[in-house]
Structures are given as structure tokens and as C-alpha cells.
Amino acid sequence: MNPRTLLRNGLLVLLLAGAAMPLRAAELPEYKLKAAFVFNFVRFTSWPPERLPDDGSTIEICAAAETEFVNALREAVTGKSIGTHPLRVREVAPGDDTGSCHVVYVGNRSDAGRILAATAGRGILTVHNGDSASRDGVVRFFIDDRRIRFEINAGAATRESLQLSSKLLSLANVVSL
């Protein structure tokens, strides 16, 4: 290969590398991604009939979390429905009654355990961000290599009488506590 060809090919490689850069990593803020995940969890979850008595029953997504997440969640689900069920977002604080919630999302906070415990046995899909699996939590987010992953506690899902679709289970790390 003569020097000119070498130089030309070298430049071409550099140019291509440069052009490929912006295509490599797609990135978004964590809270916006998690809001979209929560929407998908609702899509792939079946609640017991008494929790959604008729076709028009609203699915209530409750969040005890950072305001930016709550706003992102509102924005993600506003005007949407799953099947015939409209969606609604409610911000909750520790101590609030979560009995009407279908989903309780608990942000990264020190009192997460207490909030999760209060939901147990009421047919609620709980989603949390703890450092390890919790007996009272159904879904747990974690981050691996800058990407969001989730873990499903099959034991908790059973106790809450929730049916999670096989698609959801196939994408999750499944544990049973």
C-alpha cells in the first residue's frame, strides 16, 4: 500500500469513526426511562377481578417519589389507557392510604421499606429501587452498565394475586422471596 492510499484509508476510518459516534449511545434521564418502564409493567400485568371490577375501572398508579419522576410519569400516561382501563397518577406520601392504588412506585428513599410493608396483601404491583430484593416488593429496578434492568419477586407477585405476563418474566431477573 503506498503512503497516499494509507493516508486516505486512515482518514476514511477516522471519518467513519466520527460519524458512528453519535449513533452508538442512546441516552435518556433515568426518571423518564423508569416512567416508561412503569407504563409497560402495567401493560403486562393482570389484576384480580375484584381490583378492576368493570371495564371502565381506572388503574391508579401511585408514586412516593421525586417530583421529577412523578411529573415524568404523569406526562407518560396522560390520556392513555390499557385496554378499556384509563390510567391515573397520584402522588402519595408515607402514611397515605394506598389501598386504592394498583401500582405503588417507591423512589430512592430511606423509608421505602415502610411504604412497601403497608401495601402487602392488597393486590398492588409495587415497584421499588432498593439495593436488594425486598419481600414486600414485586418489581425492583437496578442499573447494570448504565442500563435499567428489573428484578421480579415471584413470591410477592403470587401473594398479591397478580399475573405477570411471560414476556415480562422473560426480560427480568426472577427471584422468589
Binding site: 421529577e68 415524568a72 407518560a76 406520601a93 435499567i148
Partner: protein, 673 residues
Amino acid sequence: MNQTEDRRPRHPRRHRTSVLSATLALGLTAAAQAAAAGTELAALEQAAVSQDLTLLSLEDLMRIEVTSVSKRSEPLMDAAAAISVLTGEEIRRAGARNLAEALRLIPGVNVAASSAQSYAIGIRGFNSTSSDKLEVLVDGRSVYTPLFSGVFWDALDTYLPDIDRIEVIRGPGAALWGANAVNGVINIVTKPADETLGTRLDAAAGTQELGYIGGRSGSRVGERGALRLYGQAREIDRSERADGSDAQDGMRFRQFGFRGDYKGERDGLTLSGDFHDGSIRSVTIQQQPATSDLLGAHLLANWTRNDIAGGRLSTQMSYAHSDRRQPTVFAEVRDTLDIDVQHDRVWGERHHLTYGLSYRDSQDRTGAFPDYVIFFAPAERRLQTYGVFAQDQIALAEALTLTLGSKFEYNDFTGFEFQPNVRAGWRLSPRLFTWAAISRAVRTPNRLDSDIAIYCPPPDGFPPVCGPGAFRIGNPDLESEKVHSLDWGLRAGLSEHMTVDLALFYNRYTELRSTETDRPFGRFANELDGHGYGSELIFNWQLLDTLRLQASYAFLELDIDASGRSTDTTTPATWEGSDPHHRARLRATWQPLPAWSLDGFLRYVGRLDAYDVPAYTELNLRAAWRPRPELEFALAGSDLLDDRHPEFGRNTATSFRSEVERAVRLTVGWEWR
């Protein structure tokens, strides 16, 4: 004095508006490109166009990286201080042109334009173009000048789309931030470089800011690093006086800078720097047109290591250079080195400890007579400050937190100073939080207090102001100004969509600086005492998913008295009348259609007795159209209710003040990856 952002009570960014940002749209465009190979292209494209992430499948979502991983965040309402946060998104939505205009949006911050490019900015009183009772930080770097303990707001600038948030603490923050944080702390935080990947360009043209162009480019460096470069330039038109004459102001400014971040397993490293210069239209002492020049640069390095000695260690070093010359009036060249070390750790089950050391070395060279009429004696001076601080946040009960802290500082003027504070926060119910604080803070003397002098040139001086000669006003024996402060506040969620935040304060000031009249130009002493009290009330209301309102009201009363032996008859009235007693504002952000946003900012500012500035009500409006996710056009109008109005400064036979004119501005922003 330089602190990292982590020393304050942590709290999340609040009320990020529910609009999907350009970043999101761009991220999706990139996501679409990246995932196009194997998945349903149509869905991805649709998601990108509609900016709706829920159109993506779980598999696609799992492929997208997160820009920042926040490990720790606490509920919004649990900070035991009067604190407000303005997000970068809110700054963009309001169409703020510069940092001062952004600060104006924050309840409790009093921003008054004093010329086309300069501002008087204060919190809880004592407002002045040389306000000396605030701590102002950019990414933990203290940016006030030891010349007069205030900020040259015309020289403090950054590319606004890079700002993550501005946090304002009203009331003394001295226990953590050190001397100068007497009435408040303004903390400007820029985004990490990995949140500003891609390229962004902004351009604007208008009647007040004639032209603006700015941009940034960010990219990854290796697996764990990111770097952004930014630059901007602006030209601000001259303003007018009440009689329509040229106010001899206006400015040209340009700036280049960078920020790089590395996020390792245990270590975080941030490097940032900037260079800026500008020229300002001004006048000489003989009232001849002139140009003032300013130039500045900084370099900052911050290294944070986790899991060391049971907590986190943060070390920050910064160096700043500035050069400012106003022909015949004054000149200052300054070099400042800051070093801060901070460790914070949890101790036992109940304690969260924060402690550290700080050191500042600031050297200046000032313009000497006969070239400059304002000069400093000595003309060159090196000032050093050493500090240590410690704070313990104690969980007394699940809902009750007590914070004890103090900063101990040694400075070259007054020696040892201590600034303790005690804070308590109590969560009464899930939606009700109350807090109280007792603090002592000081403002230590600066170059101006100690060394300023006036030169009146021979043969005549400036008749009838002064005869020929040099007159020292500064007093090297000046003591620190002191405040003892009581603060109380309440935050409540009135409903799911409405919150209220109330703060009340009482400040007792002692040994404030007076200007004794026993010399031709006066002489500084510590002969003023006084007190101030007031309140700030803020309502936030998320009326609809697409409509949010913020209403706020601030009341302030200052009562300053000269001691019996003082000859100062003017300063007390100046301080009592430098801030309005009443301020009220209403801010609305509305997204009527996905591609359209409308923002309004209505403000009432009471009269300033000291300067005969009448009360005024002004309105800013902005309409923005986003035809494509990566492109936004906006038309913004400011101060729409009057042709022009004064906001600050004297208007006398020898001193003419600039007025603020109604202005319109067209902007375009384009962001892509």
C-alpha cells in the same frame, strides 16, 4: 468558602415542568438510529416524533442508557431552611437572557436592573449594585470578589442551557458556606458533561439584547468520561434615561469554556474552566465617553471519592483570574486560589457528619492615583482566609431532625470569627413539615472597607465635590458586620397538586458599616445597628398536567439606626429604602399543544424610598413553537407594561440612572446528536 454542592441539605430538583425536553427528543432520535437495525423502526420513529417513550417496547427501553444515576435523593419538603430551586428547564421556559434575569424568577430574590448590563441583587435587604451580604457559588466555586464582597454580575455568565439548577437559600448559610453568607446563598449548578452530549446552537436578536449566539458540543471520552465545550457572545444595547437621553451603557461580551466529568467506580472527577472578556460603554470622571474592559478566566478541579473512612471525601481546587478597568475611575487585577476539602459520613444510626477545611489566597493589584480617582491603599494586597467547619445532622426521632454546625474562620482583617447555627426540622404529617433555625453570621471586612480612597486631581479637584488631594475613606480597623437570626418556616401539601411554603425571619444586625462625615469623603466605622424582619410566601399549583402556576409574595421591613456618637445621617435611610417593602409575582407555564408552550411572569415591586423609584408592575411573556423535536422558535417580550421604567439607582443632578425599556426578542434553538 468554596464548597461543593453536596454540603447543603440534599433535596431533589422540584417541579420540573411536564414538557419533554429537547434532550429527550434528541435521545429518541438517537435511539431510533441506534436500534433501527433490529427492531420495529416504525414504532421508534413514531416515538421520536411524538416524544413519547411509552411507545417503545421494554426491549427497546432496556437498550437505552441512563444519563445520570442518582444514588441519593430525599423528599422535597425536608430541608430545614428557606430554600427555593429553579431548574434549567424553567430558565429556558421563561426565556431568561442571563443569570440575573434567571434569579429574578426565584421567590425572595430581589433583582433590580441598574443599567443595560448591571444589576443590584439582594436577599432580605441591603440591596445594592455592590451587595455584600450574599454568597454566590458556581459549581461550588465562590465567585464574589474580595474587593467589595459582591459580584460583578456583568462579568458572571455561563451558557444558560448548561445550567442544571439554581438553588437559593434565604437567610444565613454561614455555618457551611462561611463569611459573607449573611443574608443568603445562591448556588448555580451546571449539568455534568454526560448530560449534554450532542450539539446545541442558540441564536437571538432583539431590541435590548441586539444579538446573541451561543452553542455547545458534548461527547463521550472513553467509557466513563464526557466533555463539553461551549461558547457564547452577546451585544447589549445602550439604555435610556428618564429624559430619553443615552445612558452611556451597553456591552459586548464573549465567553468560551469547558467541563469534563469522569465517573469511576469509586471516584468522580470534574474539570471545568472558562475564559471571558467584554467591553462596556462607560464614561470617564470628566463625563467623556469611554470603554471599560473586563477579562476573566477560571480553572476548577474537583475529585470525589466514595467509601473512604466510612463516607465520601471531596477535594476541590480552583484558580481564578480577573481584570477590570474603567478608565480614570478604577482598575483591579485579581488572582484567587481556593482549596476545599470536605468529608461526609454517617456515624452510628443517628448522625450524619459533614466537616472540612477551606483555604483562600487572593491577591490583587489595583489602579493607583493619579490615573484613577478611586484607588486602594496599599495598591497591591494579598489576603488569606483559613477555615474549618463541622456539622452534625442528628435524627432525634423518625420525624425530627436536629442540625448543629459551625464554621470557624481566620481572616487578615479581624482574625478569628465563628458562625454557628442550630436547625431543627419536624415532619408533623406526611404533608406538613416545619422547621426553625437560630444562626449567627458575619460579613468580614474587604478591600473596600479597609483601603478605599478618593483622589481629587489638582489644581481644583472636582468643584464643588472636593478640593485637590487624596482622601482615605477605608478604615483598616473596621470590625465584621454581624447578624443574629431567627428563622421559621412551614411547608405543606394543601392537596395533591398544591403546595405552600411560608418563611418568617427576624434578623438583628450589629456593627454595620457606617460612613462618618468627619472627613471630606467620610470615613468608615461600625456605628450602625438595626433589625429586619419579613416573610416570604410561595404557592405552587399544578392546575393541569400542562399548566402550572407559582404565586409568591415577600414582605420586608428594615430598621437601621446610627449609634449616639455616629455622624452618619444618610446610610440608615439608604438601607431602609433600598428594598421594596412588598413584592408579589405570578408565574405561569402552560403547554396548550404538544408543540407549543406559553409562559408568563407578572411582577409587582414596591417603591424604593432611598432612590425615589416608584412602584411598578411588569409583565414578561414568551411563546415558543417546536415544529420538530430538535428545533424551537420563541418570541419573548419583557417589561411589556411600560415604555420604560427605573428599577434602581439615584437620579440627581450629578447622577443619572438608566431605565429599563420594553423589549422583544426572537430566539431559535437547535439541538441534535
